[in-house]
């Protein structure tokens, strides 16, 4: 209940104050109309007495002040016109000082003073000096602030500035500056003192009230910045040192923060640049509670914008060693403010980094310096817990990536990984993702093994299990996404030079191999494929041994790959390993390396036999094997026989009959390679096909027995198609008669009572027949071949 009452009372007091002003203003107007100076002075003084109240908050007091202010304008008009009151301005200046109460006296004095300056009967500087001195009499914070605000207001257009009519031989810019500075200093002192007003009031309320008044103080700095005569030299020698002296001496955090910010905002960038040392020198002297990081950030922001505005100014930045100064200032601030939370320090470094990235993009050493300073600050402390601090570190580390769009730059920064070391595992991963995404987004290429090493060091959080990672916590989805990113990253490791590329692959392999069973299935394939890419580039190169280093020959690379895939088999991830073995085998084939290819096939077969037990996987695997083997041309007869024999054997041993059948007819291709010098063993093709037919038949019968009805004829139609293929390819063992027989067999099967129409096999068969029909009618050699087949 207390607070509402308080507000209500305040409203009441304000209303009374306004009424008092209006009442006296009414009589003042009458006296003005009558040109009665004595009465004018009497009522204006009474009116101004309303401003003597102590009951209003700054906000309300301002309202009252504005009322009085408006009335004082009228009064000034009257004072200006000597014909109306008949008193010289000099006498008038004395006359108003007869008032017994100080506040009305000083308001009147300022008002007359304004006219006095305009009349030029006395040097402006003397009047200004007198006014600013006399105002010392009001020591009450709020009343004093507003009085001086009034003084600032009426004097603004009367300062003896360059180009001003009030500048004379004796009135110089120095006087103008002195005046504004003095008023500023006094106002700030009053403002600070407001903090100690009224013990009964809450601190928050006082702070709020003070905030409301801050612009009154700050306006002085704005006025200073508007004085044309304040050139760089004067700013450097007089203005800034005096402002800073006041800021430091007032020992008030609110004021210090606000005024530092003010300085940065109101004065030109160029001045800041030339006075950096002075400005920054004040920072460590401020109160420990001042939010210095925001202040400095603002400054660096402004400076970097300034640097961006024109290239002409850049040499100045270098000349004044802006970076070094900022850097050391930040160091000193952090040192001085022992209580500053770590997040504050890091935020400062982020600002500094942003600054150097914008102003000196060519100076990587600066970036590294900043990171180094950050490392220094973080070292000896436990890993960061504060989430804000962690965010700032991520921002710190992300900034160079965003700027250069090139991870390679970051990789040359020695302190970069050292900063990352101070992150906890989770944040480390976040940062690693940022790095990877930056690489992917900018498609930057990592082209040396050293860089690869550094990069993997940076993203080690993703590449291997770190100490203390709680595996349980990992989200499956996130994990997959992370690992997919790593996989994509591996493709970005590239160098045109095979030797270097090999080193890169080795480096990557070394790191990847530590990834553990969950990661390898994601990371090994891209590595293998990348290596195979290299191999293809090297095709035909001889494996000469030169020097101690492993030369980049396919043979050597295949050895490395073999090890990598082997790791996968232990994961275990046999299907994947099998695919990769086959990929490698094919590559070895292309390189004409029979033993290598054979070895890979052997590995694949071993896997098939020992690890791939699931029937579905077996089907897939066998088809892969057949497909790959079919394309191999490097093998001699013996090797080839061994392998095809094995493959056919596996095919026939599949669990399900249809699978068997399909695998077997697929094997037929192993004996008929449609190349110029490919193997063309029509006999064994036919053997395969026949065997397939037998199996299909067996399958049909099995269905008959188990279900009582014939199964679909799909398998037969499929085999028919194989027949047609080889028939067309000119396999002499595949005859039109055999085809004719197969067609009839299928027709019979489909028409038998026990066979239900089938939605898949029937149209398949029909379209096969249509194809034969088409070939027959097409004309040419093929038509003649088909001629003997009757449909």
């Amino acid at each position: 209940m207390m607070i509402p009452d308080g507000i209500e009372d305040e409203e009441k007091w304000l209303a009374e104050g306004i009424a008092g002003i209006q009442h006296n203003a009414f009589y003042m107007h009458r006296a003005l109309d009558a040109n009665n100076l004595r009465e004018v002075l009497k009522y204006s003084a009474q009116m101004l007495s309303e401003l003597r109240t102590s009951k209003l908050s700054p906000h309300k007091y301002y309202e009252l002040y504005m009322r009085a202010f408006d009335e004082l304008r009228k009064l000034e008009m009257f004072f200006k016109d000597e014909s109306r009151h008949g008193v010289s301005i000099v006498d008038l200046y004395e006359l108003v000082q007869h008032a017994g109460n100080i506040l009305p006296r000083l308001y009147l004095l300022c008002t007359v003073g304004s006219v006095y300056i305009k009349s030029k009967e006395a040097p402006a500087k003397d009047v200004l000096k007198d006014l600013v001195e006399m105002c010392l009499g009001v020591q009450h914070p709020i009343r004093g602030l507003f009085l001086r605000c009034y003084l600032a207001q009426i004097s603004r257009d009367k300062l003896p500035d360059i180009g001003s009519e009030y500048k004379g031989d004796s009135d110089t810019v120095v006087d103008a500056v002195d005046f504004v500075l003095q008023n500023f200093i006094e106002m700030n002192k009053l403002w600070v003192r407001l903090k100690h007003q009224g013990p009964g009031r809450s601190r928050e309320k006082l702070e709020k009230e003070r905030s409301e008044l801050r612009d009154l103080v700050g306006k002085n700095l704005h006025v200073l910045s508007q004085i044309e005569g304040v050139d760089l030299e004067m700013y450097k020698d007089t203005v800034l040192p005096r402002i800073l002296e006041q800021i430091v001496n007032c020992k008030d955090d609110l004021s210090q923060y606000y005024l530092m910010d003010c300085i940065i905002q109101v004065f030109p960038d160029e001045y800041h640049l030339q006075t950096l040392e002075t400005l920054l020198g004040a920072c460590p002297l401020l109160q420990p509670t001042v939010d210095i990081k925001t202040v400095l950030s603002q400054l660096m922001d402004r400076l970097s914008n300034y640097a961006a505005s024109s290239t002409d100014v850049l040499p100045e930045f270098l000349r004044v060693e802006a970076f070094a100064k900022l850097s050391s200032a930040i160091g000193r601030v952090i040192e001085a403010q022992v209580e500053m939370p770590i997040v504050g320090a890091i935020t400062l470094y982020v600002s500094l980094l942003t600054f150097t990235l914008r102003v000196h993009p060519d100076r990587l050493d600066y970036v590294d310096q900043v990171l180094g300073a950050c490392v220094k600050k973080l070292s000896g402390k436990p890993k960061l817990e504060d989430s804000k601090a962690k965010k700032q570190v991520v921002a710190l580390l992300s900034a160079p990536l965003e700027k250069y769009k090139d991870i390679v730059m970051a990789l040359t920064l020695s302190n970069y990984p050292r900063v990352m070391d101070h992150l906890d595992n989770e944040t480390n991963k976040v940062m690693a993702m940022v790095i990877i995404q930056s690489i992917l987004k900018n498609t930057s290429c990592i082209s040396t093994a050293d860089q690869v090493e550094v990069l993997f060091e940076l993203i080690k959080g993703l590449v291997k299990d770190l100490d203390g990672t709680d595996v349980e916590e990992l989200d499956e989805e996130d994990f997959k996404e992370e690992q997919n990113s790593v996989a994509r990253l591996i493709h970005m490791l590239y160098n045109d030079d095979p030797e270097e590329m090999l080193k890169i692959i080795c480096a990557a392999k070394k790191n990847i191999m530590n990834g553990g069973p969950k990661r390898l299935p994601f990371t090994v394939p891209p590595l293998i494929l990348s290596a195979l890419g290299l191999i293809r580039r090297l095709q035909g190169r001889e494996g000469d041994l030169t020097g101690e280093e492993v030369p980049a020959t396919p043979k050597n690379i295949f050895q490395i790959l073999n090890q990598a895939i082997e790791a996968l088999t232990t994961v275990p991830s046999p299907e994947l390993a099998l695919r990769l073995y086959l990929e490698c085998a094919e590559a070895a084939n292309d390189c004409d390396l029979e033993p290598v290819a054979y070895e890979f096939f052997t590995q694949a077969f071993v896997l098939y036999e020992e690890e791939i037990t699931d029937s579905k996987s077996q089907v897939t695997a066998i088809h892969l094997i057949i497909g790959t083997l079919q394309r191999m041309n490097v093998f001699g007869v013996e090797n080839r026989d061994t392998l095809t024999h094995k493959a056919t054997g596996y095919s026939a041993k599949l669990l399900k009959k249809p699978d068997q059948c399909r695998a077997v007819y697929a094997c037929s291709h192993l004996f008929w390679v449609d190349d110029l010098d490919g193997i063309k063993d029509g006999e064994r093709v036919l053997l395969c096909l026949k065997r397939a037919l037998r199996i299909a038949n067996a399958a049909q019968q099995m269905i008959n027995i188990t279900r009582g009805s014939s199964g679909p004829v799909t398998l037969f139609v499929e085999i028919l198609n194989k027949y047609l293929y080889f028939f067309e390819k000119g396999n002499p063992q595949v005859t039109s008669a055999a085809i004719q027989a197969l067609i009839e067999l299928i027709t019979t099967e489909t028409k038998s009572d026990s066979t239900a129409p089938d939605a898949v096999s029937d149209p398949f068969f029909a379209s096969t027949l249509r194809y034969i029909q088409f070939q027959k009618q097409k004309g040419g050699a093929m038509s003649e071949k088909y001629d003997s087949i009757k449909v």
Binding site: K42, A99, G100, N101, I102, P104, Q139, H140, R193
Partner: protein, 328 residues
């Protein structure tokens, strides 16, 4: 008195005039009855020259024992007792014409002391038939004291014409005039500077530029705060007049506050220096009078007053000398 009490019509009209009435400065003088009249202004060692006009009423002749004119300087001391009090109006513009209503019955029981008495015989005993003028002249008259109109004491100058009569009371006519004496600026005029304080509460150093001020002077100074532990609400400078009458155990003192001038609003902190600038012209001051004819003194003091938030007052009083500046 005789003249006032007279139940009969006076046999003649008497008037006193000065030769330089037209050119001489006239100043206001408050009469016993409270009226203010304009009277001529003199200073010491001036010649006072004029004429007395006696005009018998209705042309009747009358006898007299001789006519004389006297120049008298008088000090009138009043018996003290529950006389004047005035309250200071809480006005903004401290006005000089505010204190006015001093009780009228000044002279009821007053004691007169003539410190100057000069006589000129204008006529020998005889008869007067018709209007007659007499020239008179007092040359380079010593009038060391200024006219003064205080609370318990009054110093005045009069020209008094007495027409002596037998058996019946004399005819007396008086003419007031005012004397003001100017002094050149003092050759020595030191500043008043002092450090004072209440232990652990308030320590200040104040300085007034001079110790002697003329009537239209300005007091310039500053108050420097060395220690502030009390919550000061404001600070004022008062000008006080101390009029003491009599001597020894019979000394009566009246103190008036002529000015209350606010110097500072709010509480300063250590190190603040507050300017003082007080114009004396709005206030009705007189020069300082020290022991005039062993009868009275008028002294002026500057009183620096601090008022704290509980309205307690702390003050320090300093005497200043006021003089009437000889205008060059």
């Amino acid at each position: 008195m005789d003249f006032l009490v007279g139940a009969f019509k006076p046999p003649c009209n008497v008037s006193i005039s000065f030769v330089d009435t037209k050119t001489r400065k006239q100043v206001p003088l408050k009469k016993d009855n409270g009226q203010t009249i304009m009277v001529p202004l003199f200073q010491s060692q001036e010649n006072i020259i004029g004429e007395v006009l006696i005009e018998p009423t209705q042309g009747k002749k009358f006898e007299h024992n001789g006519v004389k004119i006297e120049l008298l300087g008088q000090i009138v001391v009043l018996v003290i007792g529950g006389l004047s009090h005035y309250t200071w109006p809480d006005s903004i513009l401290a006005s000089s014409v505010l204190f006015s209503s001093v009780a009228e019955l000044y002279f009821d029981r007053g004691n007169f002391y003539d410190f100057t008495s000069l006589v000129r015989e204008l006529d020998v005993p005889g008869e007067l038939f018709e209007r007659k003028t007499y020239q008179f002249e007092f040359s380079t008259v010593e009038m060391p004291h200024e006219s003064y109109n205080g609370i318990n004491v009054r110093l005045r100058y009069i020209l008094k014409v007495t027409i002596g009569r037998n058996y019946i009371s004399n005819i007396v006519e008086c003419q007031d005039f005012v004397v003001r004496n100017f002094t050149p600026p003092p050759s020595i005029n030191n500043s008043i500077k002092m450090e004072v304080g209440i232990e652990d509460c308030l320590h200040i150093e104040f300085e007034y530029g001079k110790s002697k001020y003329h009537l239209k002077d300005v007091i310039i100074g500053k108050i420097y705060f060395l220690l502030v532990r009390i919550k000061i609400k404001n600070m004022e400078l008062e000008i006080r007049r101390r009029e003491s009458t009599g001597s020894g155990p019979n000394t009566y003192v009246e103190t008036e506050t002529l000015a209350k001038f606010e110097l500072m609003d709010g509480a300063p902190v250590r190190g603040e220096s507050i300017p003082v600038r007080l114009f004396l012209s709005p206030y009705e001051l007189t020069p300082t009078y020290r022991n005039i004819n062993n009868k009275f003194s008028v002294k002026y003091y500057l009183n620096l007053v601090f008022v704290d938030e509980e309205d307690r007052r702390y003050f320090k009083q300093q005497e200043i000398t006021v003089y009437r500046l000889l205008e060059s």
